[in-house]
Structures are given as structure tokens and as C-alpha cells.
Symmetry: C2
Subunit: 339 residues, 2 copies
């Protein structure tokens, strides 16, 4: 088991494997193109709960419990939980900790939190410390809307560049026990802020962070984009993917023409009215824990680079006229562990 520093912020991992994953999504997500890959689809947004926040917490709890159950272990077989959400003070992640009662490190990189957790889990497990780490992230459309934007009841019009915060949770277990899927490397993101300040256009703000991290990751490991069967960003959506491809080509001579994005994969943008695509901390967590891992398991792909992206602003910073700092964390997962 080793961690090898490779360039600036990139680490090669040896001895960290991906065990089970579990995804739980809302009804809109369950009608999208990835429907068949999710482990559980809620019939509604959680109207049995007294608040949207309680619904979000339940969504996270189901994803975490699902991953632990799927592995055939109890919660006492888990050494550490890493996770986060979009709600102020991470109330979903922290309140869910009352149920599992396992050692917990709360994380926040907005919608990049899941790959922050996966990278960190890889680093920790490959170091011979914790043996099994649950990484989880969640978001709920209705809880996020009223915290970051307006109450739904206002019926305001969405901007064309706005993305749709997904009602989704994903959980993955990173383990020291050898298995077919391995965490190969992680790259820690840096804050990138090109001066965008429109809170209804996160894609333009986040695209440079995604390209920065992908470029650093590839350079550090001496790789090309084609060394991965899929490079999948977090929530850039239609506009952001286009911008990232252009930026990579023009500034760095890097061909990201095959770049895909969790925010594009989650919904059918023609049939579902989500404008730029999906976003939310749970988006990349759920897409990774379902579709991406499925492609690796069945052997359609051998290697995936997940690059979740986050917009690190708040309603307060926006109201104070600040621009939007962004970040992207990358984790490479591949077949090539021990079957």
C-alpha cells in the first residue's frame, strides 16, 4: 500500500479499491436516461417527510445504508465516513451521522464534494490507515432551491444558463480489500476564478477549473485523454462542456472532444426542462455510483476519470457582489485490481 506524490497535487494510489456503490434519486432523475442504473428511485420528492431538508437527509441515509448493506457488512465494519452536501453547515451529512454513529469527517467543495471525498478516501486507504471508508454526497432540488435561490412557490422564471439541482444521493465504499476496481490516482483541485459573477451561470465559472484539474492530472501522470475510456466532469452541463472543450483546445492544445458530464448524463434535456443540465452535490455522486461504475464493472470501459466541479459561492457572497471561485477534484478509477 503506497501513496506516491506525482507532480503538484496529484497522487498515484496503490492499495485502494472500490467496493460497492449505491444510488438513490428523485422522480425526475428516475425518468431520465440513467433510470435503469439507479439502485432506488423515489416516487415523489419525499412528501412523507415534514421538510425538504428531512427528505434530503433520508435520501443520503438510504444511499449510505444501501452501500454498506450491499457489501454484506454492518456499519461497524466501516472505519470512516467522508461526505458532504449543499445545505448550510452540512446538516444532511452531519445529522445522518446520528444514525450511523461512525467516525465522520465532513467535507465541502460544493458540487465537487463527492470527488473530494473519493480522492481523500483513496489517499487514506492506500496509506494503510482506515480500511473501509464510506464516501457519500447528496442534494435535494427543493431544499437547494429555497436555500440558494427562491422558494418554489414564487414561480420565478429560470435563466437559460441555469442548471437543475438534482434530487440524488450516491455512496461508495473505498476499501483495502482487493477487488476488480481500483482507485488509481487522485488530483486535488485549486481554486480558479475567472471573474464570472452570474449566479445563474455556474457553467461558465466552473469550466476553467475543470480544465485546470484535468490538465494537471494528465501532465502529472504522463497521460493523454485517450488513456481514459471516459473523462466525466461534474455539473458543467451543455454550456460548460462546450466551454471546457474550447478552452482545453485553444489554451493547452488538449483534445477533450470526448469529454462527458454528469450534468448532461442525468437528464434528457430535450424531454426534461432542465435548461443547462443537472447540478448539485448529489449529481456526480449518483451518476458515478450507478452508470459510471456499471460501465466499469461490465467491462465496457477500463478506466474512468471523474472530475466533479464545484462553485464555491454563497448567497451572501453573491449579494456582496463577489465573483464565483470554483474548484474541481479528480479521481481515476479503473479495472485492473485483483478479481
Amino acid at each position: 500500500m503506497t501513496v506516491t506524490r506525482q507532480g503538484d497535487g496529484t497522487y498515484r494510489l496503490d492499495g485502494a479499491y472500490l467496493a460497492e456503490t449505491y444510488s438513490v434519486v428523485g422522480p425526475l432523475e428516475g425518468k431520465g436516461p440513467l433510470a435503469e442504473y439507479f439502485h432506488r428511485v423515489w416516487r415523489d420528492e419525499g412528501k412523507r417527510f415534514p421538510s425538504f431538508e428531512r427528505a434530503e437527509r433520508a435520501l443520503l441515509g438510504e444511499a449510505q445504508d444501501g452501500a454498506v448493506s450491499a457489501m454484506g457488512i454492518g456499519w461497524d465494519g466501516v472505519d470512516l465516513v467522508l461526505g458532504g452536501d449543499l445545505l448550510d453547515q452540512l446538516i444532511s451529512t452531519n445529522f445522518a451521522g446520528r444514525d450511523h454513529r461512525r467516525p465522520l469527517f465532513g467535507l465541502f467543495s460544493a458540487c465537487a464534494t463527492f470527488s473530494e471525498g473519493m480522492g481523500l478516501a483513496g489517499l487514506l486507504v492506500a496509506s494503510g490507515g482506515p480500511r473501509r471508508v464510506v464516501v457519500a454526497a447528496v442534494s435535494h432540488h427543493l431544499a437547494a432551491e429555497r436555500q440558494f435561490r427562491f422558494p418554489l412557490e414564487l414561480g420565478y422564471q429560470r435563466a437559460p444558463t441555469a442548471s437543475w439541482t438534482a434530487t440524488a444521493a450516491g455512496a461508495a465504499i473505498v476499501t483495502h480489500e482487493p477487488g476488480p476496481l481500483r482507485l488509481e490516482a487522485a488530483t486535488v483541485g485549486r481554486v480558479v476564478d475567472w471573474g464570472q459573477s452570474d449566479p445563474n451561470d455556474m457553467a461558465t465559472a466552473m469550466a476553467p477549473a475543470a480544465v485546470d484539474t484535468i490538465r494537471r492530472h494528465l501532465e502529472a501522470l504522463g497521460e493523454r485523454p485517450t488513456d481514459y475510456d471516459a473523462i466525466v466532469t461534474g455539473d458543467l452541463g451543455a454550456l460548460g462542456v462546450e466551454l471546457a472543450r474550447h478552452l482545453a483546445a485553444e489554451e493547452y492544445d488538449l483534445d477533450l472532444s470526448r469529454l462527458d458530464d454528469c450534468g448532461l448524463l442525468l437528464y434528457d434535456r430535450k424531454a426534461q426542462d432542465v435548461h443547462n443540465g443537472a447540478s448539485g452535490t448529489g449529481c456526480s455522486a449518483a451518476v458515478f455510483s450507478s452508470y459510471l461504475v456499471h460501465q466499469l464493472r461490465r467491462g465496457t470501459w477500463r478506466r474512468v476519470l471523474l472530475v466533479a466541479t464545484g462553485a464555491l459561492f454563497s448567497p451572501t457572497s453573491n449579494g456582496q457582489g463577489e465573483t464565483v471561485p470554483t474548484i474541481a477534484h479528480a479521481v481515476a478509477v479503473g479495472r485492473g485490481g485483483t478479481a
Copy 2:
């Protein structure tokens, strides 16, 4: 360099050293008993800044820059930054990342964030991954008051059990380079919630979490409280320290009579009107980075256990009638590295 799992959530560390620390505090903190130990004291709460939030960010920036400068390295000598603050979406930590532009993992455990970061830095550096990690945390009294409670202008009366959010920042560099101070072990906290729901009394809520973590830490390492020259909790204050001592004695037959607390050390409770004591993410960060490290460096103490405590609620969860989940993370630092 090794990390050794020792019991449930406790890790023995070999190869992680504490290099420089730096603390910056506000005027009230600078008039308290620890005045001589702080590296910088602001003359006012930052009235040169356009907002309290900008002041908080500047406080953090000064602490981080101070630690990096004190070590005689530039920011490019830093492999990773770990940190957090109390403001929604960690805007202090994340916006400060625009300046240093180093790989950043955002953390959140409320006022336990600094020891979360220290433990994590110990685990990562002892694994041979990142070589130098900056751990930092900040809070600002005026920014916290208006986010969590009321605008100061309201002039509301504080409850006797309420604590005073400190205007303070602390930064520490954890390095692979051997030095006189060593990170010996870390214990990851678990969420503890005994059903307290009064947002003006965090001490009662957090005391059980502190005892849980101290007890687990000592048991895992086969240690007694007297093996440390000081066990210092985060922000329990007068009431919380008393409760923790009673709880430890009555439930676990554990003698914590010598327990001290960053929230008690920071202010002179007789001369300064802070009720239960200090709190805030920056409190334990600044007290550790000044007074506690000073005691270790001069040899007054050989070993310190820092157990920062956090109340993981939000104004939303409180408004929804929820109780307050809490957590405490511990890190043991001692002389016994290579001089």
C-alpha cells in the same frame, strides 16, 4: 512513515511533524490572557474592510500567509491546504484559495474543523503523500453573529449559557521534515446527540462528544489522562468543562479534573463579558497556534491532546425544531521528534 490503525477511529502517526504556526486575533482577544502569545492582534474588528465577511477572509489570509512565511518557504512549497470556517459554503476558506492557489480540500465540522484538519493532515503526511500541509481555520464575531443569531444592531440580550464567537484565525503547517514537535496520533470524532436543542447553550450539547472522543482516544492507545500535560477541548466553556468532568467521572470512571478548554483560555471571563467563554472555528485554531504550541516549544509541556468540539446545527435545523448533533476530533502533539 506509517499510519497505524489503533482501535476504532484512532490512528498512531509516524512521520508527521508540526512546523510553524501563526495566529491572528481581534481586539477583544488581544486584550485577553493569551495576548502575549498571538503573532498578530488587530486593533479593531476590521473596519477597513467593506464587510465582516471580507474581514474574516483577511484574518484567515494573514494566518495562512504568516505560517508559510515563518517557515521560510513560499506558497509553492505547500502541497495541500486543509481548512474551514463557519460561514455558509465556507466562503472564507474558499475565497482565500483564490490568493494562494494551492490544492485545497474544504472541511466542515463547525468549531471542530481545526482538529479535523490537523488529524487529516497527520494521516496524509504520515502516509508519504503530501509533504507539507497548511491547516487553517477562522471565525469572526460579527460575521458569525449575523449569520447564526441576529444583527448586532438589534442589541439583543445574550443568554448566560451563550458563548462568544471569537474573532480569530490560526494556521499550522504539518510537514514530513523532522522537527522537535511531532503529531503522534489522531482520533476521528463520531456524531453525538443527547437531545439538547437550545441554540444558546452549545456547551451542554458538546460536552458528551468531547468525553466520547477523549475516552476512545485514551482507550485505543492504552493511555491515561495524566499521560498528557494538557488535554484541551475546543469551546466547551465554563459550563461544558464542568459537565464533561462530571460525565467522564460518573459514566466512565475517567478523571478529567485537569481538563482545560480553548474557550476558557481565550478570554478573562471576569473582566471580559463573554458569558460561557469563547467559541468559533477560529478559537481552537488560534489558541493552539499560539499558547499551546508555545508551551510545547519551551518544554513546559511534553504532550498535548487538542480536542476541538463542534455543534453541527444550522439556523434552518434549529428553526425546524431539531436537536443539536455534535462532534469532537482529537489530535495529540508532543515533543519527541528530532530536534
